[in-house]
Amino acid sequence: MSEQNNPYGAPTTGHLWDDNLAELTNQPPKWWMIGLHASWILVLLYGIAYPMWPWFGGATTGLLGWTQIGEYKQDMAAIQSVRAKYEDQLPGMSASAILADSELSEYVVRSAKVLFGDNCAACHGGGGQGNPGYPNLVDDDWLYGGDIDTIVMSIANGRMGMMPAKGGVAMTDAEIEQLATAISQGQPTSSPLFMEKACFACHGMDGKGMHALGAPNLTDAIWRFGDGSVEAIKYTIAHGVNDPSSAQTRNAVMPKFGDRLNETDIKKLAVYVSKLGAN
């Protein structure tokens, strides 16, 4: 070994490789040893302060009494105390009163996003834009009415409209074709069949629907099923909606949320939904 390789003459293991390579056995630097000892002391202190050592029936609890679930509950309590200012008001107010209060409705719009995501978005889409077969909540057309109290009822009790296949009367394919064409042009009343087959009973004399029955407006640009094409309308007329006698009927069921959600949550959702699309 050259002298310069080990200038301080540190002790070696005595082995020599490749003529001049030796392994020194000197102490690591002092700061490194301090670090080593500080580390294990810290581990011990940590074990005293926090739950760490396995013990009968679980683990030691630690002097600080800290638990993960405790910290979680503490954080939740902190959030709830911030929200309490608004949340405490909600149970005593009607949904329309909440909607009228700009600060509360703003709070609901921000906080009920989670509720909407959990309960509504599966069918109506994350933004309330609807999905094929499920109604759009952001447009200005409402099957059962878009005022806040009606929305509360729709959520709490659910909805299940009914349209008999072929209007419950006999209809030939040609008649269906004629009626569907008139409807797709936005002028259902232009076809005499609209009166003849008693469509008006639910969809109204002017074809603009009836909120009480959930019968849609046939004259506007919004379509409950399909895209407003003649084919889609023909299918709806031929098979009906929720008609138990027709195997291929269109399904349209809004489940009842009254027994799943509490009243306040339903009110929140109603406010959230009515704020979704300017209404």
Partner: protein, 471 residues
């Protein structure tokens, strides 16, 4: 056999430099001698810059602290200017400015920051100054270190370490004062009511100031500081550094009868340059990583040269080219300097532009993506936007919103005037409806302009998109 010898010779050559390598791992405390001189005075002047750090928080501006980094409220107040997180791009320019400033100065004159301004250097300087006042000259300090513990030694050491810790605490407290009202925070410290964050910062600063400036000193520069390593690569042949003029000094030799011997260089090997060095290096070995370019050896050598009647500047600020007798480029002919200066100017221009164009209010508009558009029952198309108004002024503003860009558009939400609270973001939802026949493309730009009532200057515009059905 010959091969063996050859290899040995090669290895020895490889390690030849190691003869004068002194790897400083802090086994021995460096007790540097203090000598008066030009550069010593310059260093005190440079260190005085740090008075700003200690005194700055007590400056007032109106009813608040002049410079306040208000982290909880996310606001930086610098005299009359308030900077919000939205203006943080200026901070990146400030950082760029200082990074390049460091580069350009290092390229021109070496580790000026390390030698004169760095807190490690300045605090160590103060700490060793206290040490000298209490324990005496380096020789006496070494003796005291080796002396057995007795009452005098304990007294001196206790006073010294107490003073060091006090300086550390003052450093930590002064640091925290920039982030809260200085007077209130002092009150908090005295009544033991300061926040956990404040106590923690003071504790960390006190500990590390005491450890770094009191105990580790040059070890920080040798083994911890990244700048010490980075700055070395910014040097070139033209960088002027405190350097030993080997042509003039060598061969060195001790004085004989008070005179430099015939045939010897000017260096009389008195060792003063090593004695005064705070990092314990020998500048005569040339430029090296341990040199923080503090120039204290220049003072030492100059005073010795005066005594032996030789001209000053055996150790002086000189570039490699100069020492080797090559012609040196002028500073502004060096491409490196020019490139650095260009970046420096650009960053500065950006900062000045930013400061003069801090708008009082700002509008940002987010287009709703789910769904991108909604068809209404009359066939018109509706888009939903989230409008965010940032009010950076010191009072609430009444804001009016105007949306333009498509014929026949109607706006609902945000009619009339909206109150934008001072120093925060007010957001609300706006619906824009356009008759379908007026849409000529799938997406059309539309502008949102906000205007504060009663102040024509306060206005901001944002261009978003109006999305319609695919055509």
């Amino acid at each position: 056999m010959n091969d063996q010898v050859d290899k040995q010779a090669q290895a020895d050559e490889l390690y030849a430099e190691a003869h004068y390598w002194h790897v400083n791992t802090g086994n021995e405390t460096i007790h540097a001698k203090r000598m008066p001189g030009r550069f010593r005075n310059l260093k005190w002047g440079a260190a005085a810059v740090w008075l700003v750090f200690f005194l700055g928080p007590y400056l007032r501006w109106g009813d608040r602290q002049a410079v306040l980094f208000d982290i909880p409220d996310r606001q930086f107040h610098i005299f009359g200017i308030t900077i919000l997180p939205q203006d943080v791009w200026m901070l990146s320019l400030v950082l760029l400015f200082f990074a390049i400033l460091l580069a350009v100065i290092t390229s021109i004159a070496g580790r000026v920051f390390c030698g004169y301004f760095c807190f490690q250097t300045v605090w160590t300087d103060i700490f060793t100054w206290i040490e000298e006042k209490l324990e005496g000259a380096p020789q006496k300090r070494r003796k005291l270190d080796e002396a057995p513990w007795n009452f005098t030694k304990i007294r001196i050491k206790v006073i010294k370490h107490t003073l060091w810790i006090l300086i550390g605490a003052l450093t930590g407290i002064s640091f925290t004062l920039w982030f809260g009202d200085a007077f209130e925070m002092w009150q908090g410290y005295f009544t033991l009511n300061a926040g956990a964050m404040a106590w923690g910062s003071v504790a960390v600063f006190t500990f590390f100031t005491y450890l770094f400036a009191g105990h580790m000193r040059e070890q920080v520069c040798f083994w911890l500081c990244p700048y010490a390593r980075i700055q070395g690569v910014m040097y070139d042949q033209e960088t002027i550094l405190p350097a030993y003029d080997f042509n003039r000094g060598e061969p060195r030799g001790k004085l004989k009868k008070g005179h430099i011997e015939q045939g010897k260089g000017d260096c009389i090997d008195c060792g003063q340059c090593v004695a005064v060095c705070p990092t314990g290096i020998d500048i005569r070995h040339g430029q090296q990583e341990g040199c923080i370019t503090c120039s204290l050896c220049l003072d030492a050598c100059d005073s010795v040269m005066d005594k032996v009647g030789r001209p000053q500047g055996l150790i002086r600020y000189a570039s490699m080219d100069e020492l080797e007798g090559k012609p040196a480029l002028k500073m502004f002919q060096r491409p490196r300097v020019l490139v650095y200066l260009t970046i420096l100017t650009l960053a500065l221009a950006g900062i000045i532009y930013g400061l003069f164009n801090l708008s009082g209010i700002e509008v940002k508009v987010l287009h709703e993506r789910q769904p991108l558009y909604v068809q209404q029952s009359d066939g018109s198309i509706q888009n939903k936007y989230s409008v965010k108004i940032l009010n950076k002024t010191v009072q609430d503003q009444q804001i009016r919103l105007v949306v333009e860009g498509l014929p026949g558009l109607s706006v609902s939400g945000g009619e009339g005037s909206i109150t934008a609270g001072k120093g925060r973001i007010t957001s609300y939802t706006v619906f824009v409806r356009v008759p379908r026949e007026n849409l000529k493309a799938e997406s059309t730009p539309i502008t949102f302009r906000i205007q504060a009532e009663g102040d024509e200057e306060l206005t901001s515009t944002y261009t978003s998109m109006f999305i319609g059905p695919r055509r």
